[in-house]
Symmetry: C3
Subunit: 481 residues, 3 copies
């Protein structure tokens, strides 16, 4: 990250933040971090909007850039009694005009204290100080000044998406699209001649999860895009192959699967075909059993792994979120407003069919994530410390935080080592926070390594080599970038 | 807590106890603690005996005050081979005379080393040093001298319940009673003119849990006290309303629900009524199915929330204890002797019916506790960080300890923040340990905050504001005191 | 451990390794460790080969001594793409010659970096430096020199099994055998006149687990060895009594039970007999239901406890491993190659039948282990902190590591105390690493205690007493050695 050359830098962030307080350990952490903090950013899994980089237009205002789309922010404010409408979310069918961005900003600034001790506070402090050079911390008193300053900055050419991408030192940025996406923005980026490497990732949940809204319509469109008869099992699988190849042609090196559970299944071809047909019939009749949908998702993970062995796409499995837990709110505001809740997630039995089928393949990479930290030392580290195909994704979502990252290292390293992990994912749609998130990860990894060095469990030269791996090389290698 | 003016103070407790060893972090913790350690005690959830404050008689002796009723103590000694009889517990039907209190005290003192590393050790050391001014640590050698000193003190007016209440700096103390309680001691306290604020809390388990002993007899008495026909669904609900109002008239601001699981359910009124009738029939026939009893408890949590929206009582849910796990011992000694064991507890699915019904109500407060720490980061912090009605109770029971409290903060703060928690509950029947328990909580919270400050994750002025909230204001606000 | 007098000592290991970095805390840890590091080793549970001590022949080469049989090593290398054949494991039916030991050693040395942050690194560094006096860390560059040096040492009399046993300061070492073992090596050790105390432990899984390969043949042999009709329930139980007594005559003081779950059951004698007969019928017909096999294992834990009350053998329960998770690999290489994976394990309900039957017996000791750390604070510490018969085994297998041991203390001590734990088990077949493993445990326990002292939660003189207990006395007492 090229933050040292940031002209707007305010100096408000402490250079030792997130390092252990013990002076000897902190000194080691500083030395390690000094060697890795400026490495380029590899962002192999995220949710930024490729249109930003295609159009390269100025961001409109501080609220719609930093607040309204950030579910970490809306969930916390909502939990403390702020109506989602006051944050700019539009209820379905509502005719009420949204509040103006400055009022949203003030609502947020007056409650910035709610984020004490959360990663949102770290990310926002970084964005305000490092990107915009405003005073931090944000308060009700300085809210308007910050708002004005940000508005002013956003109008400058240096704050357009591509300029920020470059300033942030991003080497590669992956977005995530469904097979129904035409990747037109990725095409526009390529056509523009801009050299920024923005790639896609193949996330087929809408055409694999028969319980997702509009599943049959999605299949129709999937078939049209791939020019396959997706209502036959052979055609359906072929359509995946076609679209995977299309995504790969736009630089995609991975797929992503956001299933409710980690369940996998390895049926014989005829049984798989029969299951597909039962799922189609159920979906058409509006009588699809949950167990059938689950079985189909499970089977498709194995099918995707089989295709990965052919086309080389790395496979990511993100299980364990109960989506839209708050039904009344979902009906009014739709998904992604902060009402997804993790659930207990089992891996040892669930992944076994897939791993028994393909887990011994050295040419395959399956990266698995969790929202259930109790599985780190019990299930995930032992699995990844054995199966050649399996790697552990970083601390994810609710655990993408200093304590969460530290627990990840403390609870996985002794069994899986460092080399069965894959570096950091920022996993964010909050573009401006990307360097802040990678910076937190680099600092925490250096803090963890510094403790190993201070406790004479690892020589410092080896810790430095590991720090490089964690900050840069592992992600590049695991995601084949 | 007004401990500095305690004339009996022996100075044996180290002023830096429980603070991190790193000198810079410790200095921050000291500064934070200096500002909050003397704040009044808010005790919104506990199990002291209101008769103590009504009668204000001297406590009888060290053993029956400090040892026999404390299940933390009896369980540890029992686990190491001490018979419960030797600790003053009376087996059902036994004609053996209980040992004299001094012999119980000696049995305990000779084994005080068993409590090394436990919170009991911290609490007792505090009580012995700060309340009674004895030498610590307690040993077999100084046991008799300590016993004598305590006996002498207990005879003094300054060691009667009300004097201690005042010396401890308790602003408000809640006891817990069943709807079958007449609150006569609370009435006597009020009638006495003593200004100490001792209030009740409404714990209706005996008339909601159809599996509790004497359920039908409890219902009879419930109906008589409320003057309602509690064998009809309408009358039963009305009786709850009547008794809740009665409790509120004695200062109660909350209800409490100690269910085996966190399961809730939201039936249509007719289905709820039918369930109630099935439960009554089953209880009368002695053939009640466990699933029916569970469903009824689940439904009643939703009914209680509905009433809370009307009468403003805060709702507490304490699930997950397997009561009386040791059947042979339960048959001989009854409940509450240290044989309750936590069980794995699920919240995301269990609380959903209640939260989907009332979780978006800003006027409602539901405080949820757990004995299953794996749910902190996975389930409870995400739920509390979203639903406006939901707050997290503090680390509870087996986790009401330095390590337990620290894990609570480390595992909930990043997702739920500090402001979706509710300060400390001492939850104890051990009256003399109340200041010790709040002191441990204040020290651990300051230790946690000091680390955030030392790692430059929170400015010290903000940490100080949070320390005040955690020690005093959050409890007062959450419990509407 | 008599390591200070080791003539081969290279000095490469830092004397403060594994101690907290904070200088004051480290100084305390050093003082505690200085008092306990040289205490004799009690190894009450392990998997070394008694033949080594019977024959006392030189170990053959570095690879077959240190690498090929160590599943911690083979699993990590396999996970990173190294074929098991390249590590000296022989696939079933393969005619390929195994690689020569030097080539295995080089394969390992070139990848030693994979073990950064793992306990394997700590153990190996210790063995290389303290036992063989080679330079550490091991690298591709110094691999051959290390190999030569180790080969040279292994040829010396001082590096034969008995000499190492003595040099390591082992007071007692338990191996683990099945009831089908004749204990001929133990007999040979006794007959030799060598005073080293090598004892057996009774692990009856092959004749209790009806799902284990060759169950009926094992029963035949069991009956022959015990001279009982093991196909009747009475004779079967009698055979256990006979073989337990035989094992006890070779010094065994404990039994060990490695079941998939912790389930226990307490049937009436006739129901137990009927279950036994159903299991036999099912096994003979090749139609045994998994639930029957599980019920029988559950019942046998209670039967074993009953026998322990008679013969005084301490009972160990090691549940929760999914054995041979990787079926394709199991078919080729068999068990114990690093493909066992922990699974979620429930104790509160599972152990209740056994504990309700015998848990209140002070004359009985049941030591329970877990691979599911989420059960430490929720289930195991509360159970062990109540039932007189129950004690907690140390952090086990995947958790036999610095972070794992520290979590064990942090999560069990506040509820179970120190005295319901049983000291350390090395649980290893890697003989040379035994002192290294005990050293890690002693260092981590001292580090934990040092923090309690530094935070003024325990006076240093009491901490020193506890350190002695944890390093030596508790194991000796719990295992009746």
């Amino acid at each position: 990250m090229n933050i040292d050359s940031n002209p707007a830098r305010s100096g408000a962030l402490h250079p030792d933040r997130l390092f252990p307080a013990d002076p000897a350990t902190r000194a080691i952490a500083r030395r390690l971090y000094a060697q890795v903090h400026a490495l380029p950013i590899i962002s192999p899994h995220g949710h930024t909007d490729p249109r930003w980089f295609a159009a390269n237009e100025p961001f409109s205002d501080p609220a719609s850039l930093l607040l309204t789309p950030d579910h970490y922010i809306t969930r916390m404010l909502y939990s403390q009694g702020v109506a989602l409408e006051a944050l700019g979310l539009q209820a379905d069918g509502s005719r009420q005009a949204p509040p103006d961005p400055r009022s949203i900003w003030r609502t947020f600034a007056a409650r910035y204290g709610l984020f004490r001790g959360t990663p949102t506070r770290l990310w926002l402090d970084w964005v305000l100080a490092e990107v915009f050079g405003t005073d931090t911390p944000l308060t009700a008193a300085n809210a308007d000044a910050a708002y004005e300053r940000i508005c002013g900055r956003l109008a400058e050419p240096a704050f357009r998406p591509r300029a920020l991408f470059e300033r942030f030192g991003i080497e590669v940025l992956a977005t995530t699209e469904s097979p129904l996406d035409t990747l037109e923005h990725h095409a526009a980026i390529r056509a523009s001649g801009w050299p920024g490497r923005v790639i896609s990732a193949y996330r087929p949940d809408p055409v694999i999860d028969a319980e997702s809204p509009g599943f049959l319509a999605s299949l129709e469109r999937f078939g049209a895009l791939a020019d396959c008869d997706v209502f036959s099992w052979r055609g359906y699988l072929e359509a995946h192959r076609v679209r995977r190849a299309f995504f790969a042609s736009f630089g995609a090196t991975c797929t992503d699967h956001g299933h409710p559970t980690a369940r996998t299944q390895d049926l014989e071809p005829r049984a798989a075909e029969a299951l597909f047909e039962r799922v189609l019939r159920g979906a058409r009749a509006g009588s699809l059993a949950g167990a059938e949908a689950e079985a189909f998702r499970a089977q498709m993970l194995t099918e995707m792994a089989r295709m990965s062995l052919d086309d080389g796409l790395v496979m990511q499995i993100h299980p364990g979120a109960w989506r839209n837990h708050n039904t009344p709110l979902y009906r009014r505001f739709g998904p992604n407003i902060g009402a997804d809740i993790p659930a207990r997630t089992e891996y040892v039995e669930a992944l076994r069919p897939l791993l028994n089928r393909f887990g011994n393949e050295r040419a395959l990479t399956i990266i698995v994530f969790t929202l259930d930290e109790s599985s780190y030392s019990r299930e995930l580290a032992p699995l990844a410390g054995h199966y050649p195909a399996l790697k552990l994704g970083p601390a994810w979502w609710f655990h993408d935080s200093p304590e969460g990252m530290m627990r990840f290292r403390e609870q996985t390293t002794e069994t899986a080592g460092f080399y069965n992990t894959v570096g950091f994912n920022d996993d964010t749609r909050a573009f401006l926070s990307i360097p802040a998130r990678h910076d937190v990860a680099r600092r925490i990894d250096c803090a963890f390594l510094a403790r190993l060095v201070a406790e004479h469990r690892l020589p410092e030269d080896e810790a430095l080599e590991v720090a490089h791996e964690l900050a840069y090389r592992l992600a590049k290698r695991a995601y084949r970038l």
